[in-house]
């Protein structure tokens, strides 16, 4: 499924969160949005999820509106704060997605959790799980109905550096086995580089696309890859682009 932003603007009162943003995301592509705070990356993701309406312009998901894509259960979302109910076990939290969408074409919540390395934690409650585990349950809940599109808003933002790295690696592995179209929002240049096909760098006030960078690295990209020269070169490219965007923002 494709996602197409056509001249999208969004105002919150006086604040101009997005100004005339156009971007086409191809089927099966992993695109990361990065930029200084206030650049509207979360707003872009929320518009694609049908959670916000653009003030001007439009977003099309496979030619249709985001709300209709939601109705067809084609969208999975995960945010920085896990959307888990404290009173449900990991398994029942994941299962809740299916209680709503129905089971057509869905994955098995138990298999998915086991596949995510949580085989022994099916019946644990969120407060009994570490932050990284909670986020894996959260992403399982976003994936279990097998949507074609996955929208991730800083899912690893609250985790410590090492957990964050291994979670990024884990997510890359999970997604390499599927053909999902992904929009990923992050603050981390390394995370963006290792996961993405393209990195979209945004500048702030108003939120605009400053640069789009193709990451020309082969897959799969394992942990060893993080010290590879080619990888470090790409990281440097993204980082300098981000610095340019920050300068544009001031």
């Amino acid at each position: 499924m494709t996602i197409e932003f056509s001249r999208v603007s969004k105002q919150f009162g006086e604040v101009e969160a997005l100004d005339d943003v156009s971007l086409t995301i191809d089927d099966g592509e992993f695109v990361t949005l990065i930029g200084p705070s206030g650049c509207g990356k979360t707003t872009m993701l929320r518009i694609a999820a049908g959670l916000e309406e653009p003030s001007a312009g439009s977003v099309a998901v496979n030619g249709d509106t985001p709300r209709n894509a939601c109705r067809e259960h084609q969208i999975g979302v995960a945010f920085q704060r896990p959307a888990l109910l404290a009173s449900r076990t990991a398994l029942r939290n994941v299962g809740m997605t299916l209680e709503i969408t129905g089971r057509d074409g869905a994955l098995s919540p138990g298999d998915l959790l086991t596949d995510f390395g949580l085989g022994e934690f099916h019946h644990h409650y969120p407060h009994q799980l570490s932050g990284g585990m909670q986020q894996r349950v959260n992403i399982a809940a976003a994936l279990v109905h097998d949507p074609a599109i996955l929208l991730l808003d800083e899912p690893f933002g609250a985790l410590d550096e090492l957990t964050r790295e291994s979670m990024g690696e884990w997510l890359g592995g999970v997604l390499s086995r599927s053909s999902k179209t992904v929009i990923f929002v992050t603050h981390s240049v390394e995370e963006a580089t290792i996961l993405s096909d393209r990195v979209v760098v945004l500048s702030a006030r108003p939120g605009r696309i400053s640069e789009v960078i193709e990451i020309g690295l082969p897959r799969p990209r394992s942990r060893a890859f993080r010290t590879d020269d080619n990888f470090l070169r790409e990281v440097a490219r993204v980082r300098s682009s981000l610095y340019r965007a920050v300068e544009l923002s001031n």
């Binding site: 999820a49 999975g76 959307a83 809740m96």
Partner: protein
């Protein structure tokens, strides 16, 4: 310290303090009857006491059920009709703050010595903690959870039953801690004001007959009921939220 142990210490030490007070002040038994005298009354008049206890309990529980039904219905309406909440605020503030003995008097003038004014007093005493807590609880649902539900195209009914009500439940139970005990106190006070039956009426009767021992017996019984109501809510809370204490190891 263990909570259960603390309760036992209280139950044992209360009569000791009671006896010491009598010893020190040398109060005559028609003013401050000793515990054994009160215990005698409770045993010899237990049939009468139980009869009136039943009356008080029926009043308290009827009023409490009505209060719950009204408060929860209003909280749910407020969630979906914010203008209704805005309209209701001045009403709730006024009704809550008018001294309920005056409302009770008006109710007796209109309705006479029937169960109705007593039930209305219980409703007035217990209704607001439930309304306030459930209204707050329903709004406390996590915004990321609501966002996720929206992207799954879930119905309002699903959002209510799966997200909003579970979020409100701890608030609702907390309201019971205050209000369930309040229903018994409210019923006793209502009976004390105007009824011929119930524990509150027994207090009035005991007073007019200068029978401090009976007043004390009723006091102990009414307190036990109210404390029992509180402990029952705590037990239900512990059961409902038992998953919170289950440990990882």
């Amino acid at each position: 310290m263990n909570e259960r142990l603390a309760y036992i210490i209280m139950i044992v030490s209360a009569p000791i303090i009671w006896l010491l007070t009598i010893r020190i002040t040398e109060a005559p038994s028609f003013l401050l009857p000793p515990p054994n005298m009160v215990a005698d009354i409770m045993l010899s008049e237990h049939q009468d006491l139980l009869f009136h206890t039943r009356i008080t309990l029926v009043t308290a529980l009827s009023g409490y059920v009505v209060a719950n039904v009204i408060a929860i219905s209003l909280s749910v309406s407020f969630l979906y009709l914010p203008w209704l909440e805005a309209l209701a605020v001045p009403w709730t503030v006024v009704i809550k703050n008018v001294p309920f003995v005056t409302i009770a008097t008006i109710m007796i003038i209109i309705l006479g010595d029937t169960p109705m004014p007593k039930i209305i007093i219980v409703v007035l005493v217990t209704f607001f903690p439930i309304l306030a807590n459930v209204t707050k609880g329903l709004k406390s649902a996590d915004s990321v959870m609501l966002d996720r539900m929206q992207t799954l195209d879930s119905s309002q009914w699903e959002i209510f039953t799966k997200i909003r009500w579970p979020s409100a439940l701890p608030y609702y139970i907390a309201a019971h801690e205050i209000a369930f005990t309040g229903s018994i106190i409210g019923a006793v006070v209502a009976e004390w004001l105007f009824a011929r039956e119930g524990l509150g009426a027994l207090i009035v009767r005991g007073m007019s007959q200068y029978r401090a021992d009976r007043v004390w017996a009723v006091t102990i019984l009414a307190s036990a009921l109210a404390v029992g109501a509180y402990l029952l809510v705590k037990a239900i809370e512990k059961y409902l939220f038992r998953w919170q204490v289950e440990d990882l190891t």
